[in-house]
């Protein structure tokens, strides 16, 4: 404390960070907990409609998590450990959904495989009803396996190659090697990845709102409560129902699985020399990855086609009117862009400063800052949205319909990613730089400015890009906060899809995609190798 008193600027920054976390993370959570009365809680939770929704949500979590984890693992294994042809392209394609709105998959599959779907109805002449749990299952699998694949690839790559060499040298080949060495070593990491995916499936709002039809899940029911009945209490209760398992899985993952992972015992490692695998396995993996890569590419294909077709399903004449409409009346797109730039920048800056303080300074509430910065990972977007709506759309703080409420919610929803990247970066920067500078007489601020900032530029921009993309593509967080005054693109897309205006919705989605990939491309060009996309 004495040292902090000597550096008043540092003290002000700390105070600012701590107050922000209290106000914009803790306070909304507390408000959701306190909003409904006990009686309301019992009424809602005993209502058969919501019991069914809870059951449905659990069902989807189990189903979609298993399938995403499985497909993700096959992709990861193919990419990291085999010589299957085109595996580099499989990886590239599987990265695409990470930079796209999550609901896009459901939307596109409606156009592709729905009643008027170009594949089911037009090409095959079938009458398929994609709305329901099966459509949702497909959409969620495609939407969430890429993140599973990315995490699991990291897990496989962290297995020291010498362990697999040793296994081979002692006689384990092919599947035996996989069964006795590779898979057991990857298991804790794979389980961890699956748990993180399950949080996302549970919190998924965009896919079920579009494709699940009468099959209601908790996230969509919460939205209906407000949209249909203006019942904030009911929505709060349902969002709490989402929060509890999500937060438990989050804690379990951090405390238990995190510790169980195997660490390299000693020594340096060499890159593993990839062996030819059996030709049956090779073609099986190739076919498997091809099918799922195709399913991803179809998503984009349908969207781009949809943007240029007059009336999807009945009038296939090409048109530019939707594209023109976006350019002429593009409030949503402009809003999305401006809000997300601000939220992304704010989030990256805030999380880097917080990461700096936590990793370099000892202060009161340090552990609180650490915990609260990671906490948003465990908050379903729906929950945070309801929290902000309860906390900040009525006196004393009324930000109803403002840009500020959207920007703040997106900013704080995304601090966890940037914060973890930042902590990782600061851990890599040896404290001895810091000690050397301080030994030579530099103040904390100076050290931060002259030593740390140049070293964390890369992580900062990565955090900015990831936050920006998540902000511009999210629907769940802003669905309770957007009004006609501060409307953003994802919100419009949802309304357009539910009203059946697929053309404009597709054009809007494409514009989001183009923005996201442009920003990504610029970042990649500007930062090159220092650009780290996801810290998992």
């Amino acid at each position: 404390m004495k040292r902090i008193a000597k550096e008043p600027f540092l003290a002000v920054v700390m105070l600012f960070i701590i107050s922000c976390l209290f106000l914009f993370v803790i306070y909304p959570i507390v408000r959701v907990f306190l909003y409904p009365s006990g009686k309301e809680l019992i009424t809602v939770l005993s209502h058969p409609r919501y019991i069914k929704a809870i059951f449905n949500s659990l069902f989807m979590v189990v189903l979609s998590t298993s399938s995403s984890a499985f497909v993700g693992f096959v992709f990861a294994y193919t990419i990291a450990r085999t010589d299957v042809p085109l595996r580099k392209y499989f990886k590239l394609i599987s990265l695409l959904p990470l930079f796209s709105p999550p609901f896009m998959v459901a939307f596109s599959y409606i156009m592709m495989f729905g009643k008027n779907g170009i594949i089911t109805a037009k090409l095959l002449g079938l009458s398929v009803n994609i709305f329901g749990w099966h459509g949702l299952w497909l959409a969620q699998t495609i939407a969430f396996f890429p993140i599973a694949a990315l995490m699991m690839e990291g897990v496989l790559q962290s297995i020291p190659p010498s362990l697999e060499y040793a296994g081979r040298n002692l006689g384990a080949t092919g599947f035996t090697l996989f069964k006795t060495i590779t898979f057991p070593l990857a298991r804790p990491g794979v389980a961890g990845a699956a748990l993180l995916v399950s949080i996302q499936v549970l919190a998924d709002f965009g896919n079920p709102i579009m494709i699940s039809g009468d099959f209601s899940v908790v996230a969509t029911e919460a939205w209906m409560r407000i949209e249909g009945w203006a019942d904030v209490s009911g929505a709060a209760i349902l969002s709490l129902v989402l929060l509890v398992p999500s937060f438990s899985i989050f804690l379990f993952q951090r405390l238990w699985v995190g510790k169980k992972s195997y660490v390299t015992i000693t020594g340096k490692s060499t890159q593993i020399d990839i062996r030819r695998i059996g030709s049956f396995m090779r073609w099986f993996l190739f076919a498997f990855c091809s099918v799922f890569s195709l399913l991803i590419l179809l998503v984009y294909l349908a969207l781009f086609m949809g943007a240029f077709v007059n009336g999807w399903g009945f009038d296939w004449t090409p048109t530019l009117r939707y594209v023109r409409e976006i350019f002429s009346r593009s409030t949503e797109v402009t809003n999305s862009l401006v809000f997300s730039l601000l939220a992304g920048g704010g989030s990256a800056l805030f999380s880097m400063v917080a990461a700096y303080l936590v990793s370099r300074k000892k202060f009161f509430l340090r552990r609180f800052v650490d915990f609260t910065c990671i906490l948003p990972t465990a908050l379903p977007g729906i929950f945070l949205g309801i929290g902000y709506s309860i906390a900040f759309t009525r006196p004393p703080v009324d930000l109803h319909g403002t840009a500020a409420i959207i920007i703040l919610s997106l900013m704080f929803w995304n601090i966890a990613m940037g914060y973890q990247t930042g902590i990782g970066a600061f851990q890599q920067i040896s404290p001895s730089f810091h000690e050397a500078a301080s030994n030579l007489g530099a103040s904390s601020m100076r050290i931060f400015k002259e030593i740390e900032i140049p070293l964390i530029k890369g992580p900062f921009f990565s955090a900015f890009i990831v936050s920006f993309i998540r902000a511009i593509t999210t629907l769940s967080v802003i669905v309770f906060l957007a009004t006609s005054k501060n409307v953003v693109a994802t919100f419009s897309i949802m309304n357009l899809v539910s009203d059946g205006f697929y053309g404009k919705a597709a054009a809007l989605t494409c514009s989001l995609l183009i923005i996201a990939f442009l920003v990504l491309g610029i970042a990649k060009l500007a930062l090159g190798k220092r650009f780290e996309l996801f810290k998992v």
């Binding site: 020291p160 015992i265 020399d273």
Partner: protein
């Protein structure tokens, strides 16, 4: 030891990684039951060669024979060449017992046979108490023994060791080094050892292959490597050396007189043919080990034909069993190790020292 029978023949082997040549036409014969060390700086190709023998890297060009059998395309586990890894590569998800018996279990050996082999192997290494622990719960030295046990239990024809001692502290390293050599002599397993530590190579090996930039620079006994290096690389990589550049002044049937820094240095070469090889006026490099130089008790002149020279001590360090002096003489700086030195402080003083003409090695040009 049947040192004559060739157990492993490496014939003109090449390996490239991308654009770098990791192995460049390497040929080597390794005798059955011998302890052979691949010695060289990092990146010299020694580990690549070892991994190629283990079957982890494909042979791009050239041949590998085990006995008479060509093993280029034989998979790793059918070569019966078992490797101990630098990082030990103990499977963290298995107990020590499971680790050691892993290879036997893969072979579907019966439970009794596995137990018999296990008991025999752990008897050599004194790790009976560790069997039910996991690799994370035992010390580095114990991990090292377990890794060795996991290889030995396979009763390999060839044992491959990839810098197995580099992760141990200095004292333990010397103990295990001695144990390893004793065990190898007892079991008579053909052993190939990779290290960058010249002291380890000299003390363990029957034969050393010194490698640099993907090539074998010299292959010979530790004595040959140390006292008769083939070039300046081997001379300076293995131990400390004084390299004297000079011109041949005259040569007779048994001796050569070399002019170094204007002074005549007498050399009695081990090679009896030297007279024919070196002609007056030739540039040659002489190689003298620091411990073969003696300080004279009294200050004497030089140029007396006894290889006694004068110089000034410019620096010294005390190393316990010896003192190392840096002496300026003959236009260069000599490093001289003196065992059992007196109390006298020699820094900045003039001294006389003698170089035994029979201990001077002429580097072939």
């Amino acid at each position: 030891m049947a040192m004559n029978e060739i157990h492993l023949r490496i014939e003109n082997v090449h390996k490239t990684f991308g654009k770098t040549k990791a192995l460049d036409s390497v040929s080597l014969d390794i005798a059955r039951g011998s302890f052979t060390t691949f010695l060289g700086p990092s990146g010299c190709g020694k580990t690549t060669l070892l991994r190629m023998i283990a079957g982890f890297y494909e042979v791009e060009h050239g041949n590998l024979y085990m006995g008479d059998r060509l093993i280029n395309d034989v998979p790793s586990h059918l070569r019966n060449a078992v490797m101990v890894f630098q990082d030990y590569a103990l499977f963290p998800h298995m107990t020590i017992r499971e680790n050691i018996t892993y290879g036997l279990r893969i072979q579907k050996m019966t439970r009794e046979d596995i137990e018999k082999r296990l008991q025999k192997t752990i008897g050599y290494l004194g790790i009976e108490a560790l069997l039910d622990r996991t690799p994370g719960q035992i010390s580095g030295g114990q991990q090292q023994r377990v890794a060795l046990a996991r290889a030995l239990v396979m009763e390999p024809e060839i044992l491959l060791l990839d810098e197995p001692l580099s992760n141990l502290d200095a004292k333990l390293r010397i103990n295990i080094r001695a144990e390893l050599r004793q065990l190898q002599r007892r079991l008579k397993i053909t052993t190939i050892y990779v290290t960058h530590d010249q002291a380890e190579a000299l003390s363990l090996s029957d034969r050393i292959a010194v490698m640099n930039e993907g090539k074998i620079v010299q292959y010979g006994s530790p004595f040959e490597i140390y006292y008769r290096p083939r070039n300046t690389f081997v001379a300076s990589f293995v131990g400390i050396v004084n390299l004297m550049k000079g011109k041949v002044a005259s040569s007779s049937s048994r001796t050569i007189l070399v002019s170094v820094g204007g002074e005549p240095v007498l050399v009695v070469p081990a090679d009896k043919e030297a007279e024919r090889t070196y002609k007056p006026g030739d540039d040659i490099t002489l190689c003298v080990r620091p411990e073969t130089i003696r300080l004279e008790s009294a200050l004497r002149g030089q140029g007396n034909g006894e290889n006694v020279f004068r110089g000034r001590v410019v620096n010294s360090i005390f190393e316990g069993s010896s003192v190392r002096y840096w002496i300026e003489s003959l236009g260069m700086e000599f490093i001289v190790d003196i065992f059992d030195p007196g109390n006298e402080e020699l820094n900045n003083k003039d001294v006389s020292f003698r170089i035994n003409p029979e201990r001077i090695h002429i580097l072939p040009t």
